[in-house]
Symmetry: C3
Subunit: 471 residues, 3 copies
Amino acid sequence: MGQTLALHPDRLFASCPEQRAIARELYQSVASLPIISPHGHTDPNWFAYNRPFANATELLIQPDHYLLRMLYSQGIALEALGLSPADGADMETDPAQVWQLFGENYHLFRGTPTRLWMDHVLAEVFFIEQRLDGDSAQDIYTEINKLLATPEYLPRTLFERFNIEVIATTESPLDPLEAHRKLRDDPWQGRVITAFRPDPVLDPEYDNFAANIAELARLSGESCSDYASYLNALRERRAFFKTMGATSTDHGHPSARTADLDAVECERLYQGALQGSLTPGQAELFRGQMLLEMALMSLEDGLVMQIHPGVYRNHNPRLFQRFGRDKGADIPLPGEFVRNLKPLLDRFGNDPRLSLILFTLDETTYARELAPLAGHYPALKLGPPWWFHDSPEGMLRYRQQVTETAGFYNTAGFNDDTRAFLSIPARHDVARRMDCRFLAQLVAEHRIDRDEAQQLAVDLSYTLARQAYKL
Amino acid sequence: MGQTLALHPDRLFASCPEQRAIARELYQSVASLPIISPHGHTDPNWFAYNRPFANATELLIQPDHYLLRMLYSQGIALEALGLSPADGADMETDPAQVWQLFGENYHLFRGTPTRLWMDHVLAEVFFIEQRLDGDSAQDIYTEINKLLATPEYLPRTLFERFNIEVIATTESPLDPLEAHRKLRDDPWQGRVITAFRPDPVLDPEYDNFAANIAELARLSGESCSDYASYLNALRERRAFFKTMGATSTDHGHPSARTADLDAVECERLYQGALQGSLTPGQAELFRGQMLLEMALMSLEDGLVMQIHPGVYRNHNPRLFQRFGRDKGADIPLPGEFVRNLKPLLDRFGNDPRLSLILFTLDETTYARELAPLAGHYPALKLGPPWWFHDSPEGMLRYRQQVTETAGFYNTAGFNDDTRAFLSIPARHDVARRMDCRFLAQLVAEHRIDRDEAQQLAVDLSYTLARQAYKL
Amino acid sequence: MGQTLALHPDRLFASCPEQRAIARELYQSVASLPIISPHGHTDPNWFAYNRPFANATELLIQPDHYLLRMLYSQGIALEALGLSPADGADMETDPAQVWQLFGENYHLFRGTPTRLWMDHVLAEVFFIEQRLDGDSAQDIYTEINKLLATPEYLPRTLFERFNIEVIATTESPLDPLEAHRKLRDDPWQGRVITAFRPDPVLDPEYDNFAANIAELARLSGESCSDYASYLNALRERRAFFKTMGATSTDHGHPSARTADLDAVECERLYQGALQGSLTPGQAELFRGQMLLEMALMSLEDGLVMQIHPGVYRNHNPRLFQRFGRDKGADIPLPGEFVRNLKPLLDRFGNDPRLSLILFTLDETTYARELAPLAGHYPALKLGPPWWFHDSPEGMLRYRQQVTETAGFYNTAGFNDDTRAFLSIPARHDVARRMDCRFLAQLVAEHRIDRDEAQQLAVDLSYTLARQAYKL
C-alpha cells in the first residue's frame, strides 16, 4: 500500500530548533495574509466566464512547462503526455493515461519545487491523503475530477478561497482585453487586472513584427508609419490597458540592453524594423531604445516597468517545430546589467518616480551587479527570484546574495509568475516560509531584532509587492 | 607528543542533531555498497601485473597534483619533493626526506579535501593512529612501507578489499591496451575496463598531432589520408576499445564548442589539421566537429560520451618546461554550454539513446546552464562535481544548485576521476556522506519523505553511475 | 518607548548549539588580539594632529558611502544629508537634522553590515543603550557629541583603546606625506604607516594624468620625459614612501590586465599617455605594463603588492557631476584573472619573494580562478572579501569557496579597507566572529581538529595579515 501525503507544518524551516521556533512564529503571522499576485500568466477568461476546469490532466499537467521539461528529459515523449504534434503523429488522447504516466514518474521531481507545489495542490486544494505514484494515480485522478465538477472548484470560488487580493495577468498590446472588459463590468468583486507586455510590437525579431504593427495601428487609430506615430500608438495602448486596471508593463527582451538614440537614428531603425531589414545588432539596439521609451512613458503615465531579460527561447528547434513555444526548452543566458542599463539609468535612474523592477536568471548578477545597482539608484528595485530560481534554494541564495548590499527595502516582494492557477497559494506559501526562515536565521544569530523580523515578514509577504506595483 | 588520528563516524554530516541522525542512518545503508568507478586515471598495469607499490612517497605524494600544487604555492620547490627537473638541477632523492617535508607541511591542507582523503588513507588503509606532522612523519613512513611490502597491499588485494565492482581507466586511441588485454585473459575476476580518450587524435593543437594520426593509421589499418578514412580509423579504435571493456569515451577540450559542418568544410579542416596550418579558431571548429562525430558514433556503437571542458592547461610555462604536465598548474576557465552545445543538441539532443555526460569547472553554469539543459534534453546528464569541486563544499553547492531544476535523476552518480588508487574509497566515502547529508537536510525540512531519501541514497551512491555508464 | 540596543555575545555564530559553543570558545581566544589594519583609508591627519572629531553626522554619516548609497536608493536626496552640490542647490545645513533623517531611516539597513557596524559603534564606542530610530535619534546625537568633546574620544586615545597595533593609510605618490612625517617624528608610539597607491600616475585615463606626471617629476627630481626617467621617478617615490613606513603598494585598476612589452612599445605608450592620445585599449595596455613594472620594483624594494580590480567608478554621471567621487555609485564588473595575470605570472609568479595580494568584487572568480591560482603560484595570496562582500554572508561565501582549493595559508588575513575609523573594531570583530564560525563548523563536522581550529583562529585574526604585509 502507498505512502500518505501530509504537509508538515514546519516544512522548509531550518531544522535547527532555535531557528525553527522563530520561523514558525513569524510564519504564523503571515500565513493568512491576502495574496498579492502582481505578475503572472493566468488566463483572464477563467475569471471572466467562471467555467469549470476540465480535468486534472488538462489543468495540472499539460500547461506546466516545469512538468513537461522534466518528464521529457527522462525520455518521455510529449505525445505520451497528450500534447499534439504539428506533424500529426500519434498521441495519447486519454487524459487518465497521461495522469497515470505522470504518477509513475512522480519520483523524478524529488527535490524540485514542482514536487512541493504539486503536493500542496493535492493536499490543500483537493484534500488528497495519498502520495502520488503509479498505484495511487487513478484514485487521485478520479477524486480531483469529481471535485472539479463541483461549484466549489469554479475559478472565482477558488480565487476567493485562495484569498487573492489582486492578480495581474499579462497581455499583448494587440489583445482587445475582452475578458478584462467583462470583469470590469461584472458585479463580481475579485480584482483581476492586466499588465502591458509589448514584446510583439517592440521586438523587430518577434514573429510577424510588421503584421503586429499593422494591427497596432488598427487598434490605436495611429498610422504607425513613422516613429512618432508608433510611439503615440503605444501610448494609446498603455492608456487603454490602464483602463483595464494595468499598473505595470513587462519586457522579456533577450538582454537588458538599453539605448538613448537621436531622432534620426530612431526613425531609421524603426523603418528598418518595419521592412524586416535590421541586422541582429540593429534589432538589439532598437529593443534597447524601446526600453528607454517605455521608461519615459512610465514617467508620464505612472506604470511600473518590469524587465525579465536573458533567456534563449526555444533552444530545441525540433521540439519547437512540432509543439510550439513554452514546452520547457528555454535556457538562461549570462546576464549583464552594469553597461546595458546605463543609457536608461543616465536618463532616469535618479528619478524616484520611476519604478523599474529587474529580474534575472543569472544568479551571478545578484551580488555583483543587481544589488549594487538597486542599492544606489532610486528608480531601481529587484524582483524576486525568477523561474528556475523560484524555489527554496533559489530563494535562499537570493536573500543571502542581495540583502547585505541592497537591503530588504529595495526588493519588490514576491510574485508567482505562473499560469498554474491552482499552485498560486503553494508558491506564495513557499516564498513566505523561505523568507521567514531567512529572517529567523538573522534573529537566531542576533543580526536583527525579533520585532524587526516580525515587521519584515509582513513587508516581504504582502506590503512590498503592493507598494512596488502600486496596487 | 603528537595528536591522535581517528576518523569520526559522523564526519561531514551536519552537526544539527535532527539532520545528523537522519544522515547517519542513510549513510549506514550505503556505506558498504560496492564502488562503481566509471571514470578515473589509475594505471591498468597495477592490476595487470599486481606488483607491490614502492613506498609511501612514490605512491601517495609524487603523482598527486593536489599535493604538489599546495606545497608549491607555499614556496616548496618541486625538486625538494623529489621531482626531477628537465634541466638536471639538484633534487631530493631520498623518499623518506620527501615524506618528512610533507609531514611538516601537512597543516597547509587544513580545510581541503586532500586532508580528508589522506587521513582516510592513513587511518583506514594503513591503520595509522597518529596525526601526520613533522614529529610523526618518519614512524608513519616506516609503517606504510612495511605494509606495502606485504601481500595484503598488492594492487589486486586492495582492489578487492576496497570492494570495487568495476573501475575504468582512461587511454588514448594510440594505446595498444596491453595491460587490459592481459587483464581480459587473466583468471582474476576484478573488472578493470578502459575508456576511450581521443584528444591526441581529435585536437589539432595537441602535441605531435600529425604523428599521432600516422600512428592511428598504422594501428587501424586505415590510411587516414582523408576525412572519411580518418573517421573509419576512429570507428575501428572505438570497436577495439569496446573489446577491452570500454563503455565510454571522454573528451577534454578547451571548451564545449560543437559544430555541424558540411563534408567539404570537414575535409578542408582535416587536411589543414594534418598540415598544421589551422588558425586557433579553425582548430576550435575542428574539435567542435569531432565532438559531433563522436556523438554520431556513440549512437552507432552505444558508448557513453563524456565532455570535461574548460581548463587552461599548463598555465605556468616555466614549471611545464622543467617538470611537464599535471603538476598543478591547470586553471579553470569560464564555461559556456548553451550556445556551444547547440549544434550537437540540434542533431542528437532529443535522442534518448545517446548518453552525453557533462562536467564543468565553472560552478556558475550549474544553475544557469547545465541544470536547465539536462532538465530538458533526453540525451544529457550531469556528471558529478569535478576536480577542484570534488570536495564537501563543492558537492553541497552542486546539489543545491542543480537539484531544483534537473532533479536527481538527470545526474550521473559519483566518479572519483583519480590516479590516486588508495584514495578511491576515501573519495567515494566523502561523496556518499555529502549526498546523505544533503538528503538528510531535505528530510529534516520535510521536503522529501524518509523512504524516498533512502532510495535516493542508494541511487546516488551506486545505481545512477552504473546505469549512466551502462555498467 | 523605543527598543534597547544590546550586542549579543553570540552574535553571528551559527545557532546550532554544538557549533555555537565551539565558535564561542574560539572567539574568546582571539577577541582581544591587537588589530592589524594593513589596508585602509583613514586620514593620517587625525592621528598626526589629534584634534577632536566635530559631531556624529560629520564623523559617522557624511563620509560613509555605504550609508549614502542606501539612503539615496530610497529616494533621499544627498542634499538632505547635508552634502553640498556643485550647482549650489539648497542643502540641509543642520547636522542634527541630518542625523534625525538617518535615524528615521535606520530600518533600511536591516540585514546589512552597516547595521552591524553602526550598532557596534553606538554600543561599544559610545555606550548607547537605545536602538537608533526616529524617536531616539536626538538623544543619541546629543550623547555622541558630548563624548566626542572629551579627551577620551580624541583620535589617538581611540586608536589605543581600539588596540590597534598598526594601521596603514593610503596615499598617492604625489602626496608629500606631511602627516606621516609628523607622526614619524612624534613621540606618540601609535604605528600609522602609509601605502603607495600610484593610480593617478600609472593610469593614463586618470583625471589630469599629464599634470600628475609633471608633479611627479617635480617631487622626484626626475624629468619624466621618457619611460626610463618615469620609472626612476616611481622608484624614488616608493623609496620615499618606505621611509614613511610603507610596506605595500595598492592598485585600483579597472581590470587585472597585465602586460610584458618591449622597451620600444613602452616608450611609445608612455609618450602617448603624456600627450593624452592613447586609445582605451592602449591605456589598458599601459596600465597592464605598469603592474608588471610595479611587480619588478617590488622584487627590488620588498613592497607587498595589492591589486583591487574590477569596478565601474562613478556609474552615475549626474551624481558625480553634482557631488564628486565616492558617493556610492561605483558598481562591480565581471572579473578575469587567468589570462589577465598571465604576463606578470610568467615573469614573477614562481618567485616566493614577491607577495602579490589579489582582491575581487566578482565572487564567481573565488573558486574558479583565484583559489586555483593562489593554490599554485608562490607569489600569489588572496586578500579578504572586499567592499560589497565585507559582510557576514560575503565572508562565509569566501571561506566556503576559497578554502578547499587554496587552503587557509594562501589567504592574507583580514583588512578593513575603511575610512570609517570608529567602525574598525566592529569590522575586525565581524571578521573574527565569522572566521570562528566557519572554523567551528569544520570542527563540529569533524573536518579539522579542535587544536587546529584554535591555531587557525589566531592566524586568521592576526598572524596572516601581519606576515602577508610584512608588518
